[in-house]
Structure formats: C-alpha cells, structure tokens
C-alpha cells in the first residue's frame, strides 16, 4: 500500500499541511486540493470516512477543527489508513502535548518533520509512536545544541 498524499485541512478549507508522495505538478496539486476540500468538508458525521476520487481513494478523519486527509491507491486497506492517520495524530499530540490547530500553524515545519519520521515514499517506516518522538526529540536537541554553541563534535558519537 502506498499513500499518495497527506493533507491537513482546516474547517474553513485552509491547507495546513500538504505532502506529496506521487509526482503531481503544481496545477494538478491545486486541482486535487480544490476538488477534495469541498467533498471532505461537506460530508455529514455519520457517513463513512472514504471517498472515491479519480483513480484513488480518499481517507479522511476529522479531529475537531481539523481534517486529516490521505489519498491512497485504490487497492489499499482503508481501515488501516485510518489507523495511520490516528498514528500521526497521536505522534503530534505527544510532541506538542495537547496539540491544537495553532501549534500546527506556527510549527508547520515540525509537523512535516514528524511526518517524515513516519512515512517515506508513502509507506509507513515506524509503527512505534515512541520511536518517532524519540527521533524527533534527538534531532531537536542537535539543533538546540548547535544554537547554544556546543559544536558539532558532539554529533559524531553515533554509529554508522
């Protein structure tokens, strides 16, 4: 299974994050966002979390004011994709501690960092939330240390 793209949409239809694992040009990306946003935002609560769009499936889940949306291959497992979405949400929640939309607006780059520790090439790389947060925190430390002047010699301790 492969995720083709991940979108975070606000209730007002604003894009909070977009990550593309399949190559689309800017026009196609804009079209996908433009097409999918009203479809997802317009759905009533009771309905299922899946939509057919072109040759792909759209799996979405609403968390209060935010919609997490993933486009997946037509043959993929929709239910586990929902878990994937939830996996991401929990990672975000762990990291920010009671995550809210504003966290994602002002720290959008961090949301991307976490997504990159979770998915590569549209595939899940790490089923452990803890491992993901650990990796992110370790990297944050590296950045902080560089800032506070502890020079990169500290970096070289890890095996490769």
């Amino acid at each position: 299974m492969a995720v083709r793209f991940v979108l975070l949409l606000s209730r007002q239809g604003k894009v909070r994050l977009s990550k593309w694992y399949t190559t689309y040009n800017q026009k196609e990306r804009a079209k996908i966002i433009r097409d999918i946003t009203p479809l997802v935002l317009g759905r009533a609560l009771k309905l299922c979390n899946f939509l057919d769009y072109q040759d792909i499936k759209v799996v979405y889940k609403r968390y209060a004011s935010l919609y997490f949306v993933m486009g997946i291959d037509a043959g993929d497992n929709e239910l586990i994709t929902l878990e994937l979405v939830h996996h991401y949400v929990e990672v975000l929640d762990r990291y920010f501690g009671n995550v809210c939309e504003l966290d994602l607006i002002f720290n959008f780059h961090k949301a991307y960092f976490m997504l990159d520790e979770m998915l590569i090439a549209g595939q899940l790389q790490e089923p452990s939330k803890k491992a993901i947060t650990r990796a992110i925190e370790a990297q944050d430390r590296l950045v902080e240390e560089a800032k506070t002047g502890i020079v990169e010699t500290a970096l070289g301790t890890n095996e490769v």
């Binding site: 800017q26 946003t37 009203p38």
Partner: protein
Amino acid sequence: MAASAVFILDLKGHVILFRDYRGDVPIKYAERFITKLNELEETGKVTPIILDEGVSYLYVQYSNLYLLIVSRENVNAASMLLFLHKLREVFVHYFNELEEESLRDNFVIAYELLDEVMDYGYPQFTEAKILSEFIKTDAHKMEVQARPPMAVTNAVSWRSEGIRYKKNEVFLDVVESVNLLVNSNGTVVRSEVMGALKMRTFLSGMPECKLGLNDKTLEGRVYFMQRLAWLTRRGGKNKSVEMEDIKFHQCVRLARFENDRTISFIPPDGAFDLMKISTLEAEERSLNWLRALTRYSGTAVYVPEKEALVWKIKSFPGGREFLLRAKFSLPSVAAEEEPHGRMPPIAVNFEIPYFTVSGIQVRYLKVIEKSGYQALPWVRYITAGGEYEIRMA
C-alpha cells in the same frame, strides 16, 4: 425575463449571501457554478456569462468575491451585469470596503439592500445615496420610522429634496486621458484621448444647471467641436453626419440635448461623472509618445512584488528627453508553469495639470435655483496617461 437569484460567493464558491427572487434556482447551484468556472478556466474558455444545463450564470469578480446572478430565462445580459456593478457600488458606499468580512459583518443590512434593489429578479432602485436615506446602517436611527424618499419613485431619482449648504459651490474637473499603443518598431497603432467631465456639487435645493463648452468651432480651431456635430450641423443629409461618442449621466436631459444641444440637468448631490467623451483627437501631437530618450534621470528600482521596474522622474520639462537602459538577469530556476513568451508592453503613467490635449474648455456653468443663490463654479483641467503602452520586441 428576470434574475432568479443573486449570490455573493467567496473565491472558493462558498455562499456568503444568497437572495432567492424566483425560487427556480436553488442554492446548490453555487457549487455548480464554481465547478463549471474552474473547468472553463482550466481550458482557457472562461467568459463572464456561462450557460450550463439551462441555467445562465452572469458574474463579476470584485476583490475576493464573486457577485453572481443566475437565471433560467433570456435575461437582458447587459442590464444584469451592470446591475451587479451597481450593486457593488451600493455595497461600497455602505461598507466602505466590499469584501468577505465586511459583508459577513453587515449581512443584515446587505439583505435589506438586496430586497430593495431588486424585486422578483427585476432591478429596481440602485442610487446608493438615496437608499441610505431610508435604509440606515446605524440601528439607533431606526427609532424614527423610515419612509421611502420621494426620489425613489420620482423622475429625479438621483437627488433628494431639502438639501442645504451654507456655501453653494460646484467643482468641475475636465480630465483627459491619453491612450496610446506603439508597436515595437515605433509605429503608432492606436492613439486616442478619452475625456470626462467630473463634477462635485455642493448645492442647495433643486438647482437647474446649464453647461456651455467652448465653441471655438467658429474659428475652426478645435477638432473636438467639429466632431460635436450637433453644435453646428444637425443631421444634415448631405454632409457626413458624425456623431461624437458622448455618454451623459442620467441626470442630463437627453431629449433636450437632442433638440437644441443644450446640456441641462439637475445634478446629484456630491461627486459624479457628468459626461464621458471617447476618442477625442489630440491637438498636441507632440505628446504622442515618449521616444528616443537619451539620458537617465531620477530613480529606477526593480520592484519584484509588482514584477515591474519603476522609474520615477521628478520633473519632465517640455522638449527634454530621458533614457533608461536596464539589464535583467534571470535566475537559473524558473517557475514551473510560468508562460514563456515575449515581454509584456511597457506601461507609462503621467499627469499634466492645467492642460487638455483636445483643447476643450468650459465656457460657462449656470446654476439657477428658485431661492436665487449665487453658486461658485470651480474648473480644473488635467491630462493623464491612460492606457499608454509601448510594445516590446
């Protein structure tokens, strides 16, 4: 043959306001409209009027909004589009700015207005100034119950009675803009002057105005007046009849003008365009275009956010010439879908006060009011660059 409904949508097609006049095009058509519009934009076939499955969509875009009329009938398209522009003016008059937020904040008054400016899909009354006499934004003023002002149904629908000024004044601006298009090889493709008489009136009561323009025609000097065929030769059968392209504000008595060429009117209060004259001919040919510039002067800055090089020249005395040479180096990276083609034309803006290219002059402006006050007319002349473009090779 009327509008079915008026929509105001944001650019994504979300409905901000929806006033249904005839009940035959439900609100969901807003979605169809935006889908169709996107589709047409993608294929480059977009037009301001769209027919889709028996429903016609007429719209104008303004800031971050679409003002949209839908209909199932053969409506008067020009009328509907102009109505939308008038509606825009009314909203701007009321809310200062017309955009999503101002509409949302004032949706109650916006609905009131929509109820008044159109009935059963037929445009009714769109004079913002008069409307604001009985549809008021300030809730407190509603304690005294409003009544429809006379003007709403009067022949003089643009002016209310009982206006009072201490000092009665009229300002008249004669504004001419020069449109010029020059080919890359230097030939003038198009050259025309558009004139406008803009008035601001601060007059009491119901003043009768009469405007006289210069009749230099007798001396054979002003081409403009020659073309005003009606001043001298009226519809002569053998002569070439050349009507000028003049448009008058609705206050001007057109029939009277047709009869004896008098420009007479009861003006609206405040600012308005009394008349517009297109395609005048420039008397001063020298102003045709800025050519063979030789020396750089003033400041020139590249302004990436405007995608423009802005060159400011402090003063440009007659007979002088300036040259600017600029070199653009392009970054090695290009936007993905940026069109590749020739450079857009150079646009030039300028203004020359106290001067008209055509030589048009106001001879007199008479103001007669039954109370017999004396009104002071002030006249100014300005020439400005309009669409002044020089094509690049």
